[in-house]
């Protein structure tokens, strides 16, 4: 069963609770205005490569888990 609307706003843990105002849609102000560039694609590959290194250096994962996770990310590059 699909769900809509989204979850209720998170509680404020570190500060006393503030009154919850409605969510305001600011997507127009934040939206990307230009199409993806080759540099974006290169940065995306670098971003994913960083995650692959994160997997390689994970002390808690087995070799098999690392191989599967790296294959998952390489498919996204």
């Amino acid at each position: 069963m699909p769900i809509d609307p989204p979850p209720e706003p998170p509680l404020i843990i570190e500060q006393p609770a503030k009154p919850s105002s409605p969510i305001v849609d600011m997507r127009d102000a934040f939206a990307r205005k230009t199409p993806q560039t080759e540099e974006d694609r290169a940065q995306a590959r670098a971003f994913i490569d960083g995650k692959i290194e994160m997997i390689r250096r994970d002390p808690s994962m087995t070799d098999a888990e690392k191989a599967a996770a790296i294959a998952e990310l390489q498919a996204r590059r």
């Binding site: 699909p2 769900i3 979850p7 849609d25 997507r27 939206a31 993806q36 971003f47 960083g50 998952e72």
Partner: protein, 313 residues
């Protein structure tokens, strides 16, 4: 040849092997060693690694690290030490939390995370390339809505959407986020923070929505800054490694020093069940997550298991 017996100053041989007398072979071994070419690269690497261990030891405070490093630098040489510090090394986790496998998949039709990234401006110290304060909401095709440092330049708030091939979306410099950047007190200290909330949930049969929101402290409410609807399956959302990290500091240098406070406060998650009913927000906690520290030089200022941490160096 035999050595002189001196039972008062030497330990007795181990008991697990037969043994009669100890023979002195030092001269023979010294002769063999003298013929073996000196491997300077190995020697340098050996000392470099000791320097790295000293500089990143999680059990030493900053002063003790500096003393240990100073003692080693004399032997290593400042030039070699500088080389080690500046070589890029992506893929580190300076500090942060990873979800347990059970918790990563223990949601039905939706999952959501909120927290405040402690994001000093500038990052300070020797940060000279990328460094991310990021988190996922457990879904395999969700977003990373995160703080992106690039050296000492103005940080950016960015959204990387794992559901898209054109993954880079929102990219806003901190200079345009004055309504969102604020301060929060934790353990008696005021920290600069960016409160971020991101969600992934089913909006139809095999239809999902990713959202990223920022808390607008000027008006006291969340602003929706990014949204994307897409087709996916439950298995795509819950299988694999992507989505396994909660708040982390993702690093790209082998070690850090003299950096300003960074981290995350108030990390909390909520999931919906298979009927689409959302549960209650709850702080990330030890049964649901593990701490990862890659020893890249950060010093833990505090950790609240496992919903908050701050590091410096």
């Amino acid at each position: 040849m035999k050595t002189e017996s001196n039972p008062t100053s030497s330990p007795t041989p181990p008991q697990n092997r037969p043994h009669k007398d100890t023979e002195d072979h030092r001269s023979g071994f010294a002769a063999i060693s003298a013929k073996t070419p000196v491997d300077e690269a190995f020697r340098t690497a050996f000392l470099r690694n000791k320097l790295l261990i000293a500089h990143t030891h999680p059990g030493l405070d900053i002063t003790a690290r500096e003393e240990a490093v100073a003692a080693l630098v004399d032997r290593l040489g400042r030039e070699a030490a500088r080389d080690m510090i500046t070589q890029p090394r992506p893929g580190g986790v300076g500090e942060g939390f990873f979800y347990t496998p059970d918790f990563k998949t223990s949601w039905g039709l939706g999952t959501s995370i909120s927290g405040d990234f402690v994001c000093s401006v500038p990052p300070g110290g020797n940060v000279n390339t990328w460094l991310y304060l990021t988190a996922t909401n457990r879904s395999g095709l969700g977003v990373e809505a995160f703080v992106s440092y690039d050296g000492q330049d103005t940080p950016h708030f960015r959204v990387f959407d794992w559901a898209r091939t054109d993954s880079w979306q929102t990219d806003i410099p901190f200079t345009a986020l004055e309504n969102y950047l604020t301060t929060i007190s934790a353990h008696g200290v005021l920290y600069p923070v960016l409160p971020v909330w991101n969600s992934t949930w089913a909006i139809g049969a095999n239809q999902y929505r990713n959202q990223a929101l920022l808390y607008n402290h000027a008006r006291g409410g969340w602003d929706l800054v990014y949204q994307y609807d897409y087709t996916a399956t439950d298995a795509q959302q819950k299988t694999g490694w992507i989505g396994s990290w909660g708040p982390i500091i993702e690093t790209f240098q082998p070690l850090y020093f003299q950096t300003n406070p960074m981290g995350a406060l108030g990390a909390q998650l909520v999931g919906s069940d298979n009927n689409g009913v959302w549960g209650s927000w709850a702080p990330l906690s030890p049964p649901n997550s593990n701490v990862r520290t890659d020893n890249v030089g950060f010093n833990l200022v505090f950790i609240d298991p496992n919903y908050a941490f701050v590091v410096n160096s």
